[in-house]
């Protein structure tokens, strides 16, 4: 109700403004901000980024299929490399979350199937001290391992009961990271866990599990492409929306990712608990890349540029509206990039080493400031941006 009133107020006053202008001997040409340009460019970025993420997921699936057919150490290493590559293009897409968009609009949206975290390892497979735990080792309850079975089991009985997605694959490829952080090592699962007669039990089911997860990843990314492609359903809805609503969603998303998800959930919690398992990619020790890629995604959206896509940006219209504020946001974004880049790798070392911890704390503060600055940028555009 208040929003409606605000628009009403705006239009009444705008009409007044125009009538003022008519009275003036030198009519003023009011150039509206190119909001629709920003919105269209954003849709192009989203589509291109999901295309890249899917391409890399298809590559990952191909390499995993090779490993599952021929489980050798070399093929295992190739699968791990392909997983890390796939995370690169997916990482920047996280800037499209929290935007009331198809990735996470509700509990049925695919985000939880792609990137659920943190994950209780013993829901999937054996863990240290519990050789028979997990879906893989529970033949009685889950006689068949299939895509539909695994998708149906995701987050059943608890948010951490993650059965599918990037982090389920990560756990299957690396295993628990039981190393001490200063050794700078990731999880040490042997490839023989996938070899009949090798280590651990139920190797065949583990292979089936891994292959099914890789295929699901491709399926779920395809859903995003269907929504955002030029003839896509959501793209049409998005472009037809009130421009201020679309911009509110876009800005609110990067403000939320920066201040809540990245600074809060992913960095400060881990920093405080000093607990490896609170890391986003704790098995592969790839969390430092997740963090950098999330911020890169934020920067892509704000600067209106990704890969071959480039156009009118939020940075452009905020800076032309309020040059001082625009310069401040740009500087804060750059500072955030510098401060994140300064944190140590891997992240479990950055949060546990006394000399490295202050750098993480600084990065957290900078990301919080960045989130707040995006809200101010919204105010400059006349948009009420909320951080979730």
């Amino acid at each position: 109700m208040r929003i409606i009133k605000a628009y009403l107020l705006l239009s009444i006053c705008t009409i007044t403004l125009l009538s003022c202008s008519d009275d003036d001997s030198n009519p003023i040409v009011v150039t509206p901000l190119n909001k629709s340009g920003v919105i269209e460019n954003y849709a192009n970025i989203v589509y291109k980024n999901y295309q890249d993420a899917k391409t890399d997921a298809v590559s990952l699936k191909t390499v995993i299929d090779v490993f599952v057919a021929t489980p050798t150490d070399a093929n295992f290493t190739a699968a791990k490399t392909a997983w890390k590559t796939a995370r690169e293009s997916y990482g920047t897409t996280e800037a499209f979350r929290f935007a009331n968009g198809p990735i996470d609009i509700d509990d049925n949206a695919p985000e939880g199937l792609l990137n659920s975290w943190p994950l209780d390892e013993n829901y999937i497979d054996y863990v240290d001290g519990s050789a028979n735990s997990g879906i893989i080792n529970d033949l009685a309850t889950y006689p068949t391992i299939s895509k539909s079975v695994l998708e149906g089991l995701n987050t059943q009985g608890g948010d951490a009961n993650v059965s599918v997605g990037y982090h389920a694959i990560e756990f299957l490829l690396w295993g628990q990271d039981l190393t001490i952080p200063s050794d700078l090592l990731a999880g040490q699962r042997p490839y023989t866990d996938f070899v009949d007669g090798g280590t651990a039990a139920n190797q065949g089911r583990r292979r089936d599990y891994l292959a099914a997860c890789a295929e699901l990843l491709v399926d779920h990314l395809q859903l995003m492409i269907n929504e955002w492609k030029p003839s896509g359903n959501y793209r049409a809805t998005f472009l037809a929306e009130n421009p201020d609503t679309a911009l509110k969603n876009i800005l609110g998303a990067i403000a939320t990712l920066s201040k809540s998800e990245l600074a809060g959930e992913r960095m400060f919690v881990t920093y405080t608990n000093q607990n490896q398992e609170d890391e986003h990619s704790c098995f592969s020790d790839n969390t430092h890349r997740d963090i950098r890629l999330n911020l890169q995604g934020i920067a892509n959206v704000y600067r209106g540029s990704y890969s071959s896509v480039s156009g009118v940006s939020l940075e452009d219209i905020i800076t032309s509206t309020n040059p001082t504020l625009g310069a401040q946001i740009t500087a804060t974004l750059t500072l955030a990039e510098t401060s994140i880049e300064a944190t140590a790798t891997p992240f479990d070392y950055a949060i546990t080493d006394a000399g490295q911890r202050p750098l993480v704390a600084t990065a957290v503060t900078t990301l919080q400031t960045l989130g707040d600055k995006f809200v101010e940028g919204g105010v400059a555009l006349g948009i009420n941006v909320t951080i979730q």
């Binding site: 107020l9 509700d106 863990v127 957290v364 919080q368």
Partner: protein, 486 residues
């Protein structure tokens, strides 16, 4: 959120100044400003029926505006920077599963040996409300059975069952027997509105089965309790004690049949008796103790407030691995307490719709507001400024009321008798279905919707219940529709 609304109202002003910044002429700006101010004045004249301006802001400045499944999960928007960060730490400890010690999850180990849930969110799913199990043997539903025998302990509280303690845990770690299971059967109770419409209620009867640690006391009192939504709890803690006492009418001096009184309960940290605020019988004096009590009773996690494991008879818990002494250290208990204090309260929806305002008038007319007090101003919160001096609309007095024999659990809890229950806050009641996929209400979740919850009211609330049953169908619908906007 007040700030955001202000920003929204300023936005046109900013835009206009922007448009006019090219003109380099001052007078039109001043002219416009004056028009704008007059616009704003018109805006302010808009006062909703019912007279409570800003009544959509249920949690004062902690009010949030997400009405999705996340409605109960957002942090209050007015926290300071450090609180905002600490909230996330509390969130991780609240939402993620605790595991059996020893584990690589060093921050969250020590579950059990006996427990009801692996995490706080196991019962308070999405920071919302639990329900009774749907079938025998279902776990993680968000309800538990309190156990006690007659009499009071040295601190004035209930006396636990000698073998099964103060609550029945229906889960356990590997190699330790689970205490017992329970079954529920339902008895149908039918009634009729004055207009002839009939209704049916279901009264639960609990049967404890599979007792693994010897007999349970013959005079055992069993009190089922569901987990409550977590919103606005710090605001309730910030209500000045004198404000609560001003609501009391222990001898019913105004002859309205309603005689609220405070519970006075044991405060472990100060080793003294304090006014009770939290729990279905207001048996906890503050959130920190409520949280520590839940960690201990529901998850088997020790803390400095409750350092002892709930150890079943015949088991030497000293021989079991634990997650440290205590298992949740004080700083993390503080994080979860902060988290539990600062979940924002969702705003009202459709609060200014005529039918809703009529429903609210009916709510007041039949005296629901005598106990479900609509508006309270908080006092000073000891540690969190965002919760201090807030105008809130919790719809509770936090006092004990006799609710009649039908709702009685026979379990005394400090001053509360078996018939007495704390008035539960009603904020968020219309979003439980969205958040938790059910609308089970009252202490044991027996009511399947708001209407049934009203019909279960008895004792001091008997008169209001009767007046409700005398309303015609359209008025009943309006009253319930109003409650659904809370």
């Amino acid at each position: 959120m007040f700030e955001v609304v202000k920003a929204e109202e300023f936005a046109p002003l900013l835009l206009l100044i922007l448009f006019y910044s090219n003109m380099k002429k001052l007078s039109p700006i001043l002219f416009l400003l004056s028009i704008l101010l007059s616009c704003s004045k018109d805006d302010e004249v808009y006062i909703p029926q019912g007279g409570d301006t800003n009544e959509q802001f249920s949690g004062g400045e902690t009010t949030t505006f997400d009405f999705s499944q996340n409605a109960f999960s957002l942090q209050a928007p007015n926290l300071n920077t450090q609180e905002g960060l600490d909230f996330f730490v509390g969130n991780s400890l609240f939402n993620q599963n605790w595991v059996t010690a020893p584990a690589s999850t060093t921050a969250r180990d020590g579950l059990g040996p006996l427990f009801n849930a692996h995490s706080c969110s196991g019962c308070h799913g999405d920071d919302g409300r639990g329900r009774p199990p749907l079938y025998t043997g279902e776990v993680d539903h968000g309800s538990l059975l309190r156990l006690s025998i007659f009499g009071t302990n040295d601190n004035g509280g209930a006396i636990n069952d000698p073998n099964y303690g103060g609550q029945l845990q229906d889960q356990s770690i590997q190699n330790i027997d689970t205490e017992a299971a329970f079954e529920i059967s339902y008895q149908d109770i039918t009634g009729q509105y004055a207009d002839g419409t009939s209704y049916a209620l279901q009264k639960p009867i609990y049967h404890i089965t599979n007792l693994m640690y010897g007999p349970i006391a013959n005079d055992i009192n069993v009190s089922p309790r569901v987990a409550n939504q977590m919103i606005g709890l710090g605001l309730l803690e910030a209500i000045d004690e004198n404000t609560l006492l001003s609501f009391t009418d222990e001898n019913d001096s105004n002859n309205d049949g309603i005689s609220g009184r405070p519970n006075y309960v044991w405060d472990v940290a100060s080793n003294s008796t304090k006014i009770g605020r939290f729990g279905w019988k207001a048996n906890q004096p503050n959130l920190r103790q409520q949280v520590a009590g839940a960690f201990n009773g529901d998850m088997g996690i020790t803390s400095t407030l409750f350092p002892d494991e709930n150890c079943p008879p015949g088991v030497d818990c000293n021989t079991l691995p634990n997650g440290g002494s205590p298992e949740i250290p004080d700083n993390n208990l503080s994080h979860v307490t902060l988290y539990s204090s600062t979940l924002g309260v969702p705003a009202r929806r459709d609060w200014d719709v005529t039918e809703i305002q009529e429903g609210k008038a009916l709510f007041n007319q039949i005296n629901c507001n005598s106990c479900h007090i609509p508006k309270i101003v908080t006092g000073n919160h000891p540690t969190i400024d965002a919760l201090s001096n807030q105008i809130i609309r919790p719809y509770t007095d936090l006092l004990l009321h006799d609710m009649g024999d039908e709702l009685s659990d026979n379990r005394a809890d400090f001053l509360a008798t078996g018939n007495e229950w704390r008035t539960p806050p009603l904020w968020g009641i219309g979003l439980i279905e969205t958040v938790n996929g059910h609308n089970r209400l009252l202490h044991d979740g027996r009511a399947r919707n708001i209407e049934e919850a009203i019909l279960w009211h008895g004792g001091e609330a008997e008169e209001s219940k009767l007046e409700f049953t005398n309303l015609d169908a359209s008025k009943r619908e309006k009253l319930i529709a109003f409650l659904n906007t809370l």
